[in-house]
């Protein structure tokens, strides 16, 4: 379950999105984040989607309380956002991803 895969090697940016099964909020968040990656970010960004009901141990490890939660895992230190994340520009800003935004984007 990933989009914009970086071919082999460690990606420059790793985002992990924790969602709950097929809830409306989660579907909205997946759509929003995938859309954001496609539209704004380059191949340097890898996105992993984790369903907490299928991978509770991973949720435990990351101490996830709320879903959807988006974590910028790489580069460290990690940063977290909670919510349905439907404002891509704010997400990019809050996760500090401005430098990865594709240059073709109109200013």
């Amino acid at each position: 379950m990933e989009s914009a895969p970086a071919a082999g090697g460690a990606p420059e940016v790793l985002l992990r999105l924790f969602v709950t099964g097929g809830s409306q909020r989660s579907l909205r968040a997946i759509e929003a984040v995938e859309g954001m990656c496609k539209e704004f970010l380059g191949k340097a960004v890898r996105l992993e989607v984790v369903d907490v009901s299928e991978a509770p141990d991973q949720a435990e490890h990351e101490k996830i309380l709320a879903t959807p939660t988006l974590i910028r895992q790489v580069p460290s230190p990690p940063r977290r956002l909670v919510g349905d994340l439907c404002e891509p520009e704010r997400v990019i800003q809050l996760l500090g991803l401005k430098e990865y935004v594709r240059p073709r984007r109109a200013e």
């Binding site: 924790f18 969602v19 709950t20 099964g21 809830s23 909020r25 989660s26 909205r28 968040a29 907490v52 009901s53 509770p56 141990d57 949720a59 435990e60 101490k63 996830i64 309380l65 709320a66 879903t67 959807p68 939660t69 977290r80 956002l81 909670v82 919510g83 349905d84 994340l85 439907c86 404002e87 704010r90 997400v91 809050l94």
Partner: protein, 503 residues
């Protein structure tokens, strides 16, 4: 007992709680525990799990939002709970919902607590937990800052816990006397913890506000936190009147007093000795303990005098306390009332009784404990002690000091006279320019007794009871009239004791 429509209960094994809740928490449901800061919410949440592990081998899951699991493990271990060991055995599991301040999440848009639910579900599945505690909502609200969302989500958490067939506790902050927080409308079952300052004394209480579809006792019940076992509720008023009563008599240590009582005290009765200072209360207690039968043991709680003083007094009346102690037949516990709260005194007294297994217990004096308690707490203390003694079929003798030399009653008596089985009054009597002493049996439950007021004297052999005062009335009120006075005067003086004394 309980009707078939009543909810099933889960016995908590928290001392006293199952009694006031008529059998425990509603099984498979969520109960909200609401309380102010320092009201022992976290202890209750932890104890709910600990008692389940200790007494019913039920695993538990502790979800913490405020403190780190490390801190909780350490803090609660000081109450004697081996949390680390239980964790290793798979009986206790933490779900850590606490956050580093720098981790504070930024929210964009709507969210739910799906992560939390998945983790609780996972932990419960892995350990087979039957009990879950969540501590506390307040910390969650601060983390996410969106009360409406959190409340909606907690409602869902409660439903999910119900589906998982676990019995759970969620704690919440309750600021003072403000109206009930919204959380209270969300759960069917609400318990309030209070930690209040009453007449300069700390008082902890637990109240079951509601259990939907399940009965429970109403009102606030005081509790104490014992250093080695946590919360202990003192469900005082609930244990009255269930004692079996014995018709076996024992001697009071004074033959004439036995006669006045119709043949001695009952073996499982509690007697109150009331009198002003110097009327012989400690002597009566001493005699009571010295009159131990063959297989009897006596326990004396002295709140007014030191051990040396007690020894000396007793020896003055021909009773050798050190010898009785040496023979293992007597234990004397001397304490200042001020060293502990009434609840703690009660615990200590019970502990001594458990250890020593006495057949007679004397408390000299009960009124000394009144100094450290509010009237309500004091009454509860006396009730609890009395019930406990009767339950154990121990003969109890409490002394109570009246503040005025002549006549009078104390708050002590007003509070506890209905609780004790017998009341014996020791009074000064002014007769023709002389101070004499009179003894009367005011009440003797379940038996005939001498209704006269008799004169008594005290010498090196102890107390001697003589003839009734024939020509003096008004002794109990302290407003004496001699036989020449008219009935009318007596009646008048009955109700203006203080004036009569001042006159």
């Amino acid at each position: 007992m309980s009707s078939s429509r009543e909810l099933k209960r889960l016995k908590t094994y928290i001392p006293g709680f199952d009694l006031i809740s008529n059998g425990g928490l509603p099984a498979g449901r969520t109960t909200l525990v609401s309380g102010g800061p320092g009201s022992a919410k976290t202890i209750l949440a932890g104890q709910f799990l600990a008692e389940g592990i200790k007494h019913a081998n039920q695993a538990g899951c502790f979800v913490t939002f405020e403190e780190k699991p490390d801190d909780i493990r350490r803090n609660l271990s000081s109450l004697g709970w081996e949390i680390a060991k239980w964790e290793a055995e798979g009986k206790w599991v933490f779900v850590d919902g606490s956050l580093h301040p720098k981790d504070e999440p930024v929210t964009i848009g709507d969210y739910d607590l799906g992560g939390l639910m998945a983790r609780i579900d996972n932990a419960v599945r892995k350990t087979g937990a039957k009990r879950v505690s969540l501590d506390s909502i307040g910390a969650m609200l601060i983390q996410f800052g969106r009360p409406t969302v959190i409340r909606r989500e907690l409602y869902r958490v409660a439903w999910q816990l119900r589906d998982m067939n676990v019995t759970s506790i969620i704690t919440a902050e309750h600021a003072g006397h403000a109206e009930a927080p919204v959380e209270e409308y969300v759960t069917d079952n609400v318990i309030i913890l209070r930690n209040t300052l009453e007449d300069e004394k700390r008082r902890r209480t637990l109240e079951i506000l509601k259990f939907r579809g399940a009965s429970h006792l109403r009102g606030e019940f005081p509790f104490t936190i014992s250093e080695d076992s946590g919360i202990i509720l003192l469900p005082l008023s609930s244990i009255e009147l269930r004692q079996k009563s014995s018709d076996k008599r024992i001697t009071s240590g004074i033959a004439e007093l036995d006669n006045m009582c119709g043949g001695g005290f009952y073996r499982d009765s509690v007697v109150l000795i009331s009198g002003a200072t110097g009327t012989g209360k400690t002597l009566t207690a001493t005699g009571f303990l010295a009159a131990l039968g063959q297989d009897e043991r006596g326990l004396l709680f002295a709140f007014e005098e030191s051990r040396d003083q007690l020894y000396r007094n007793a020896l003055g009346w021909g009773v050798d306390f050190p010898k009785l102690e040496g023979a293992g037949r007597l234990r004397i516990v001397c304490e200042y009332p001020e060293v502990a709260a009434p609840e703690d005194h009660l615990l200590r007294i019970k502990k001594h009784i458990e250890e020593f297994q006495p057949t007679r217990v004397a408390v000299d004096s009960l009124s000394a404990l009144e100094r450290i308690a509010t009237p309500r707490t004091f009454r509860e203390f006396v009730l609890a002690l009395t019930s406990y003694l009767k339950d154990k079929q121990i003969a109890g003798l409490f002394t109570s000091t009246t503040p005025s030399l002549l006549g009078g009653s104390t708050v002590t008596e007003a509070h506890i006279s209905s609780v004790t089985d017998s009341i014996i009054l020791l009074r000064y009597v002014e007769a023709f320019g002389e101070m004499r002493r009179g003894i009367a049996v005011l009440k003797m439950r379940g038996s005939q007794h001498d209704r006269s007021i008799r004169e008594y004297t005290i010498d090196s052999q102890g107390m001697h009871v003589g003839e009734p005062f024939r020509s003096i009335s008004g002794i109990l009120s302290g407003a004496f009239t001699h036989s020449t006075s008219s009935e009318l005067q007596t009646l008048e003086h009955l109700f203006d004791r203080t004036d009569a004394e001042d006159a």
